[in-house]
Symmetry: C2
Subunit: 197 residues, 2 copies
DNA sequence: AATGTTAGATAGTTGCACTACCCAATGCAA
DNA sequence: TTGCATTGGGTAGTGCAACTATCTAACATT
């Protein structure tokens, strides 16, 4: 498949594909000559993934590169790779000394989480933002949310494939790609509950 | 409170405050003279809300303006105002003729949702993105997620205040501000489940 | 009266995600 | 084989968003 055909198959302009190549998001095709290269189905899938991550999940090109790099080369520890991949997901938050709100929340729930884990920073930031906006995450809400979130996460974890490479792709992309789905469903559930009152 | 004091109170540079004024995010202070104006606690809160919505929830300045405009002036119908406010939340998706995936999902769940509702578009887009990434939202996953999401949404709706103005602010800002919290907690639940295995 | 600060307006900067252009090397048709 | 369109790869430019810096006249403070 020539680049123009890859362009047609993914509905993406050729200059944009070149941009993805330059940025290291898309692996080069196998060169057929100095002036043409062959792209295959894996490239088509890759472009679709890139566009889904950037447009719908809302990742920047940099973040997408980071996530895909981990998926492409997870390294020996799945657990560690998962953490590294998640550190590229938004929102990006500055490193801090302490995470009082997040520690309080996790302590109340009894969840075991390494404080160095990026999601702890994100939680701290998110709780602080909710406070600033005037809808604080009080303990009652936390306790109401927690079992449901855990139920969702439990389903996620139960479905993880055996194969390590597939596992990391499933875990990372599933975490990222299902977040907008969950957000949209929550908004629609609000709507449905309001409508049936 | 002078603008410089508002700047100090919110840890926001004066030029940025001026930018928010120009963009219509921040209401003008009451002028004390031609060259100074008085800002009060409501302005401090407003700046905090603006920064939380833009930095943590990830709204653009335009989207923030749209959301705040609805919160400031909800109009007669709460239900309608809620829909209008949510249409400003990300991800922004183009209007389409049909929403096959979203309709199938909502049909399977038996949720009553107006197809013109913006969250339906967002759901359609999110499901399509998950498919593209290789982690499709199959019916089993949908059925596993749905009761938990509904549980979260139920708690949200139960807490809505009586006063209409407070209700719309609570509903809109709560929907937006708790999304990052839920996302972070889900990521941490993954971590906790993996760790305790 | 001298000095410094402020509000408001205008213009400039930075970063990101493309997008347009150019060129040499093909591939293809006649 | 000749000529022309196409391709890959590189460089440079564009458009937008979110600030940020500068300027000016009108104040307030000393």
């Amino acid at each position: 498949m020539l680049m123009s055909q890859l362009s047609a198959a993914t509905d993406t302009p050729v200059p944009t594909l070149k941009f993805y190549l330059r940025e290291g998001l898309l692996p080069a095709g196998t060169p057929l000559s100095q002036t043409r290269a062959d792209y295959d189905e894996s490239h088509v899938r890759r472009v679709r993934v890139i566009r889904a991550l950037t447009e719908t999940v809302g990742l920047s090109v940099q973040q997408t590169r980071g996530v895909l790099a981990v998926v492409d080369d997870p390294g020996p520890s799945l657990f560690d790779a998962f953490g590294r991949a998640l550190s590229h997901l938004p929102p990006e938050v500055p490193e801090q000394d302490d995470y009082p709100r997040a520690r309080a929340a996790l302590g109340a729930l009894g969840w075991m989480c390494d404080p160095g884990y990026p999601a702890v920073r994100q939680l701290e930031n998110a709780i602080a933002a909710a406070e600033a906006v005037g809808v604080p995450l009080d303990e009652a809400r936390l306790r109401a949310y927690a079992p449901h979130i855990r139920g969702i996460a439990q389903y996620d974890m139960d479905g993880i494939p055996e194969d390590p490479d597939a596992a990391i792709a499933y875990a990372v992309l599933g975490t990222a790609a299902h977040e907008p789905v969950i957000a949209a469903l929550r908004r629609l559930a609000h709507q449905d509950i309001a409508a049936t009152r």
